[in-house]
Symmetry: C2
Subunit: 357 residues, 2 copies
């Protein structure tokens, strides 16, 4: 995917140039609250987050950067608006990349100071243009997508004049359509790695839908080198959702996939609680197995047979399938437990085999 983009390094993570699409998130603690910020980043690391961004709105946040970095494993990006000095100081404090929205920094000679410092320290800069903070000179452009791209390209050209190409670009809008159009345009005009996101996309559910649609459409056409799902919710959800979008498109493997029927009047077993229980217990498992929980005989045995492990409902009992074959009948009363016990065995076997290899 996106294999024709430039390779850019962020700490020890490479994006672009055919690397797997990297998943990032952003903390919502006050950055200067080092304990809380580190704790949040550790939670994010645990669910697979590969790059993390923190807001840097003041000098206390800058001072926190080296202390946070000492306690985390993944690269840290400093997010800066308005103050070019903060960007320069954040780079000096050890940020692995900075994100600026040049429109919020102001005059180009101030942007130049930031770029010179990034060049000196050899770190990447994301030019993150955003529909909510477009430069006033684009306020009359009716096509938001075009305005976002024009503004972004203008800054790219400026950076290139300074002989700086260590760039990642984003053109986020809170409108899914504007975002899709903007990224498509940008991808056709540059080969810098693209950071995808639908900005201010809303609550856990609404934001997940908007992000899955928007990022899904772009990723499916080969656009995107790193993604962030923005949700007004615990950032841990952002990572889960991001990986599930990538897994749906076969771009990353994240964890077990649960194939479960939507239940209908044909259902012989109570699928929903079984699915919820299995999903909860598999939340931290990263082995990419397929688990089927199916309510009846219509697609049940078919899906269960295709899955690594699964159960299909029957009149009084269910049938447990493993490796494509019916293993045994199980009672509908403790289906989740029985299925989970078999899943655990399967995961152990897979891990043992891996160790041997």
């Amino acid at each position: 995917m996106a294999s024709n983009t430039r390779k850019v390094r962020i700490g020890d993570v490479e994006i672009g140039g055919g690397n797997p699409v990297a998943v990032q998130s952003m903390t919502n603690s006050k950055t200067e609250n080092i304990k809380e910020t580190v704790a949040q980043i550790k939670e994010l690391e645990e669910v697979g987050c590969e790059i993390v961004r923190v807001a840097v709105p003041n000098r206390k946040a800058i001072a926190a950067i080296p202390k946070i970095k000492k306690n985390i494993k993944i690269p840290l990006i400093a997010d800066i608006h308005f103050h070019w000095e903060y960007a320069v100081e954040a780079i000096e404090a050890g940020a692995d990349k900075i994100r600026i929205n040049p429109g919020n920094i102001g005059k180009l000679d101030l942007v130049a100071k930031v770029i010179e410092k990034a060049k000196e320290k050899d770190i990447a800069v994301r030019i993150g243009v955003n529909s909510g903070s477009l430069h006033p000179k684009y306020s009359k452009e009716k096509d938001i997508a075009k305005a976002l791209v024009k503004s972004c390209i203008e800054y790219v050209n400026f950076c290139e004049k300074l002989k700086f190409k260590n760039l990642v670009l984003s053109v986020k809008s809170s409108s899914v359509i504007d975002s899709i159009n903007a990224y498509r345009m940008l991808a056709s005009e540059t080969n810098y790695p693209l950071h995808l996101g639908i900005t201010e996309s809303g609550s856990l559910m609404s934001g997940t839908i908007k992000s899955s649609v928007g990022l899904g459409v772009l990723l499916a056409s080969g656009i995107g080198d790193t993604i962030r799902v923005s949700l007004s919710a615990d950032p841990v959800h952002e990572v889960h959702v991001a990986f599930q979008i990538l897994q749906a498109l076969g771009l990353r493997s994240y964890g077990p996939e649960i194939i479960s029927c939507p239940t209908c009047g044909r259902c012989d077993i109570d699928v929903i609680p079984v699915v919820e229980e299995i999903e909860k217990q598999l939340m931290k498992v990263r082995v990419p197995i397929k688990v089927a929980v199916m309510g009846c005989v219509v697609n049940g045995p078919g899906e269960a047979r295709e899955a690594d492990i699964g159960v299909a409902g029957g009149k009084k009992e269910g049938v447990l399938f493993k490796g494509g074959k019916a293993l045994r009948r199980i009672s509908t009363s403790n289906m989740a437990e029985e299925l989970m016990a078999e899943i655990k065995k399967l995961i152990e076997d897979i891990e043992k085999t891996k160790e041997k290899e």
Copy 2:
């Protein structure tokens, strides 16, 4: 969208041929439990569901069809597997459309009997091929998408020989990629209206992600005339998610859009509970207004200004925006209430204006 597909009528709903993409769902009550099934369909109608499907696995369910129909407003589809007689009887009982998976009906002369009855009563038939129940003769085809399409087209050709073209087609897989590939192939080979879905897509969250990605990719390229989001969850969610996917792509207008920031270390107000409260209160509102809830000054005033109404956080208080202008400062302690009061006024004004027109 999909304006070059044939028009097909389901009760009083038309799909295909440039009609808006219709949203459907399926009950999960026992169909023969008329009271429960009607109650569930009324709930679905209330959230905007336009077509509903019920499972018809036995003769009690067939007998329930006329009684259910008397109590609901939207067209009813009978979902039939295995028994061709049930399909014939469901049509006689007044189903507005039937869905069959011919591979589950069996021999073609039995399928013919169903088609002849549909022709007689002038109702549409969905040929719903499914990865979990593919005809055994395709079991060796490695490309599931190709197998789904081949099987579907085979039945389409058979129906056309019987001079029956009142068809809707689906080729669902639990794999997002297989589904995308199958529908793309199918759309290039036929002009029948397509019913999109990712089958057995999983729990509320996982299924929402897989469906949003899969249906999003297809809808964005103009494929799809009616959609069903399959979730192992209350079917009401299926309708909400379906409309939000369509709204994200500008294909349908469903209700208020909440633009809200993901919160970060820069946040001056507690965005998440405000968003949750506003979203809850607007759940049943169908006026397509844009509401912004933004935590700080970076994109806050920008987004709030572009929205119909919004709030942007500040150091001690927020600023309420309406129609692009700052209206007044509001305290951060009762932000949700103040914002909601203004939203209600706005909705009343919009509805009054509508009445006058």
